[in-house]
Amino acid sequence: MLEKIKELICNYVEVNPEDITENSRFIEDLGFNSYDFISMLGDLETELGVTVDENEIMEIHTVGEAVKYLNKLKEN
């Protein structure tokens, strides 16, 4: 999951994949704007075949939190 997210992050910001860690914050550290983040979750929905709940994504700030949330969706 981490690798998949890293790959998608690179579609939005010019960042070296090796520099992305689970602690990286999307907006403050990676330079995302808030729509980049929402759009990336849309990409992940399609790729993973899951449904993201818009009310829950407000709690996601770091790459690690996104990994955890998406893994949970996939298990369900």
């Binding site: 690179c10 579609n11 939005y12 910001v13 010019e14 960042v15 520099d19 403050e28 550290d29 990676l30 330079g31 704007n33 808030s34 729509y35 980049d36 929402i38 759009s39 979750l41 849309g42 990409d43 929905e45 399609t46 993201v52 818009e54």
Partner: protein, 510 residues
């Protein structure tokens, strides 16, 4: 549509049904299924909603409407206003407390809501004594089925249509009173903007006047098929599903879409970028309308170069909203916000843009002091924006009046004008310009990538060089004389705008 026959919202819905009949007006998603409604369907349901209200409430009513874009939202709004009553469209992102406060302040009688607000209904009943009825959009089909359709009355142009609350970042939001004639003037002021072959994808919040007038009213006028996007996460999928010919967006969405196009182009080096862009936008897109915030001229040009018309306009809720709109033949990307719309007069007073037009609001609801501040006695609307008009009648915005820096020598400097000059420099994430001891200072938060990949001295040298280049484009009195660099992000508002009043955090490097 014959503009002379349309003076009110009721006229607009009636005429759209007469002219476009069974053509599809609206497409919306229910799960993966697309539900279609014709102009006739819509007129019928608006008449039924108005009939329901007439029967139950003999006096005038205020109906608040809340939720994401949906057919139920539209029927509630148009059924209210089409019947000569007043709608109160509310921001779907408001907290339950704020919603209750606005229901009280707007004297709302009927509260129409998306089912996701069901949980807050007990709070509405407990805290809003004026609210007589709450109607969920889920109950609407049954309610409409049993209602007697009313003939929409002859609503005068000066009848209050809606109270639209501004999302003021400071103080209480103000209730902009828009008349039937304000909406109609704004929807009718330009000609030949679209045809009934057009399809629009509506992605912005529907309570917002820019989306409401330019997506919904314009679709009714021209017979456009309007498609509701179900989530901001699904814009790419819905572009492919509905293949729109036009879309209204804000610059942040334009930025993200451009990144997606560039990423796809990098993966397909042999495919022209224009073809990739068209594929991303669904295959038929001609026009992108951008509003709501500043659009970088470089980004506008990048879209133009990919074959789109990237039209930037300017307006405000108080003007229903359009003040200027893009000339599709002007491809200069000069940094303007479009040409003044027909019937609107603009004058500049002490640098501030003042507007007079039949679209200008009647005032703020129950707020005479704020109304007197915004409207001059002879009917000019003070926009609070600074700018100028060129010989082609194009408006250029240079900043907000309240942010103006007045130096000790009396010189007025707009910080936004200087900040915008940093746009496009990829080693800068954010910049704030302010006066420090009467010295124009730029405080910069570098892009996170730049902080990793450049040494401190390289970064400082690049910033000094950028400031020198910018200073060459302004008169000496407006030059940036002090430069600060910070390693913590600026404090921002919920809408991601930098808070202007915050302590200096950056170390001085120039």
């Amino acid at each position: 549509m014959d503009k002379n026959k349309v003076r009110s919202i009721a006229d607009l819905v009636r005429e759209s049904a007469k002219e476009y009949g069974d053509k599809v007006f609206l497409k919306e998603l229910a799960g993966s299924e697309v539900i279609e409604r014709s102009f006739n369907d819509f007129y019928g349901d608006v008449r039924r909603f108005a009939g329901y209200v007439f029967k139950k409430y003999p006096d005038d009513v205020h109906t608040a409407v809340i939720g994401p874009s949906s057919y139920g939202w539209l029927v509630s709004w148009f059924g209210t206003v089409g019947g000569g009553n007043t709608a109160v469209p509310l921001d779907a992102l408001l907290s339950p407390q704020d919603i209750c406060e606005l229901l009280v302040r707007s004297d709302t009688d009927i509260f129409c809501y998306d089912p996701r607000y069901e949980k807050m209904i007990p709070a509405v009943k407990a805290n809003c004594p004026n609210v007589k009825e709450c109607i969920s959009f889920a109950e609407l089909p049954g309610l409409l089925e049993s209602a007697e359709p009313a003939e929409l009355p002859d609503v005068p142009a000066d009848r209050l249509a809606a109270i639209v609350y501004t999302s003021g970042t400071t103080g209480k939001s103000k209730g902009v009173m828009l008349l039937n004639g304000n909406y109609i003037d704004n929807a009718m002021c330009q000609d030949n903007e679209a045809t009934s072959d057009d399809v629009m994808l509506s992605v912005l919040p529907i309570h917002h006047i820019y989306c409401f007038t330019c997506d919904v009213l314009i679709s009714l006028r021209y017979g456009i098929t309007l498609c509701f996007n179900d989530s901001l996460m699904h814009i790419p999928q819905n572009l492919k599903r509905f293949a729109p010919t036009a879309i209204l967006i804000v610059p942040m969405i334009a930025e993200t879409m451009y990144k997606q196009i560039k990423a796809a182009a990098a993966q397909n080096p042999n495919v022209p970028i224009a073809a990739i862009a068209q594929n991303v936008f669904g295959g038929r897109l001609k026009t992108i309308y951008s509003g709501g915030a500043y659009l970088r001229p470089e980004l506008q040009k990048a879209y133009m170069d990919m074959g789109f018309i990237m039209a930037q306009g300017y307006g405000m809720t108080e003007c229903a909203p359009r003040i200027s709109t893009a000339d599709p033949n002007d491809k200069s990307c000069a940094g303007d916000v479009g040409v003044i719309v027909n019937g609107c007069t603009v004058k500049i007073e002490d640098g501030e843009i003042l507007v007079k037009s039949p679209s200008v609001m009647a005032g703020y609801y129950k707020d005479e002091a704020a109304t007197a501040e915004a409207l001059t006695p002879d009917g000019w609307l003070r926009t609070g924006d600074l700018g100028y008009v060129d010989e082609k009648n194009r408006i250029f915005i240079t900043g907000r009046k309240k942010n103006l820096i007045i130096l000790s020598n009396g010189e007025n400097v707009s910080p936004e004008e200087l900040e915008n000059k940093f746009a496009g420099l990829d080693f800068i994430a954010d910049v704030l310009v302010y006066s420090e001891d009467s010295v124009i200072t730029a405080e910069i938060f570098p892009a996170p990538e730049a902080m990793k990949n450049m040494s401190e001295s390289e970064l400082e040298a690049a910033l000094r060089e950028a400031v020198d280049a910018i200073n060459k484009t302004v008169i000496p009195a407006k030059a940036i004389r002090r430069l600060r660099i910070r390693d913590v992000e600026f404090e921002k508002t919920t809408s991601k705008k930098i808070k202007r009043s915050q302590p200096v955090k950056g170390r001085q490097i120039q």
